[in-house]
Amino acid sequence: MRAVITVIGKDKVGIIAGVSTILADSNVNILDITQTTMQDVFTMIMLVDITKSNISFHDLSDSLEDKGREIGLSIKIQHEDIFNSMHRI
């Protein structure tokens, strides 16, 4: 299963490091990363494969959200299909 991780907030040092450490520890593979600044807000979008993840989706989601709170950004993980269903026919 593939999921989309979005990081939204103010740019700072160590965002990718923080997120990718959690992913590596959870055995989640990063497939693609894009980052951009939209309307002065830093936005990073990561496509990941969580098929071989060693923790549950819930725990992964919680640890990413905790990390977000720690560094003052919003970090979310969502099943890829929610975006595909809205934007692809």
Binding site: T6, I77, D81, I82, F83, M86
Partner: protein, 452 residues
């Protein structure tokens, strides 16, 4: 790969524009729960609901977490209880409502619909007993919702039932007087009721439905309003296109959630209801969409046209996004559940007469309308008669959910709490309709019911 702006658009719709799945409703047939002994019947009902819906709330929460889209309500609808309880010789059906309430409590849903009767052409013994039990059932239970269908385009209007429902509504209000007449907020009187509606308080599991089914209701007035903000001043073709595109996106969410829920629960997917359902939250109002189109206040001249456009565009956009569409499908205009509607009433822009006109072009009808506590049962019946006549003649669903709030007068505010919101007491016509309602009998079906 998804484009960043697409990802951000979805997230923004959910986080800032209140896009959500309003309800996942599991419809459960209780047709195999009839028994001559009411106690046996109730045990079967309880066991069946708690077995079928055991994982409903958990599956809903899992989907919410994994897809990052809020699913506000998990609910259950059942076969109209008049059909089930009828096999027993009990006179009072309140115990059936209580067993529904306790089954709902056990599985953790917030409402269960189906304390219902279909009497558009006349009453059976069970229908009569059920309707008599409605006021007490709504005052002694928390989660049970009730509905009565009093008219169809095919059968005409059962004016005896219309008269009786006025009395039932008055009594339900009196029995729940300490909470502003809350009982009436859980009671809907219908014309042309759909059998697969996932929205409360009017949901029940129709007799043509399968054993068990998942129906989903979407929401998203905020997302539509935000989309319209970007096309300020554009012509109506553009307005319609913008609403269609947004409705498409909203409905795709509903379709995804419905399919996923049905897969995980091992239950047939029924329909997605394409309704724009508002909540009292700021930024989640249908009235504000109409105002965004250029009306100073919802309820002023032009409101019916604006709503007609909105309702049609929502359906056009939504239909293509879902494989099966049903339920009520359209824009809802419940006064107490919509911040913009409440404001429009308080400011004197929106009257009950205008709301009645609006129901000709949108889904459902006079919804969550609070009227003075001293409104007579006959006047309420007459309001119902007008509304169901609109449904019968126009071949559409209409409904009345009206609350004669005990002890309250025009201008007072009645607080219901939660999604039911708070309603300003509205002015109604002071002239009486007693002799009209007293006639009873049936208003025949209109000529276009003979379409065969």
């Amino acid at each position: 790969m998804l484009k960043p702006f697409e990802v951000i658009e979805t997230i923004k719709m959910i986080q800032e524009e209140n896009l959500d799945i309003r309800t996942i409703t599991m419809g459960i047939s209780l047709r195999d729960c009839c028994h001559s002994d009411g106690n046996v019947s109730r045990k079967k009902i309880y066991d069946k609901i708690t077995r079928y819906a055991a994982n409903l709330v958990k599956v809903g929460e899992d989907i919410e977490k994994e897809y990052g889209i809020p699913i506000i309500n998990k609910r259950i609808s059942v076969t109209p209880i008049s059909l089930i309880a009828e096999s027993s010789d009990e006179e009072d059906y309140v115990k059936f409502a209580e067993i529904l309430d306790s089954a709902a409590e056990t599985v953790g849903v917030n409402f269960i619909g189906g304390f219902s009767a279909l009497v558009h052409k006349g009453y059976t013994v069970g229908d009569r007993k059920l309707i008599n039990s409605i006021p007490a059932a709504l005052s002694t239970t928390k989660k049970v919702c009730s509905s009565v269908n009093v008219a169809t385009t095919k059968a005409g209007i059962n004016m005896d039932a219309v008269r009786e429902m006025g009395q039932v509504i008055k009594k339900a209000a009196e029995l729940t007087a300490d909470s502003g007449g809350l009982g009436c907020a859980k009671l809907v009187v219908f014309a042309n009721v759909p059998e697969d509606n996932p929205f409360m308080a009017g949901a029940f599991h129709g007799i043509g439905e399968p054993e068990c089914v998942i129906n989903v209701g979407v929401s998203g007035p905020g997302a539509v309003k935000c989309a319209l903000e970007k096309v300020k001043g554009a012509d109506f073709g553009t307005v319609s296109e913008t609403i269609k595109k947004t409705a498409f996106k909203i409905t795709r969410m509903g379709q995804l959630v419905a399919q996923e829920a049905s897969k995980r629960l091992g239950v047939q997917f029924g329909i997605v209801d394409l309704s724009l359902a508002p909540t009292p939250a700021i930024g989640d109002s249908v009235a504000h969409i109409l105002e965004e189109m250029g009306l100073e206040k919802c309820g002023t001249h032009g409101t019916t046209a604006a709503l007609a456009l909105l309702n049609d565009a929502v359906k056009k956009g939504g239909t293509m996004a879902s494989s099966y569409v049903g339920g009520l499908s359209g824009a809802f205009i419940p006064v107490s559940e919509d911040a913009g509607m409440i404001d429009a009433v308080v400011q004197g822009a929106l009257s009950i007469d205008k709301l009645e006109a609006m129901t000709c072009v949108c889904s459902v009808g006079l919804d969550m309308i609070v009227v003075p506590g001293n409104t007579s049962a006959e006047t309420i019946s007459a309001i119902i008669a007008d509304e169901v006549a609109i449904g019968v003649i126009n071949n559409k669903t209409t409904a009345v959910r009206i609350i004669p709030a005990p002890g309250k007068n025009i201008g007072d505010m009645v607080e219901f709490g939660g999604l039911l919101g708070s309603g300003p007491v509205m002015k109604i016509n002071e002239f009486n309709s007693e002799e009209f309602i007293k006639r009873g009998g049936r208003i025949p079906a209109p000529i276009h019911s003979l379409r065969n």
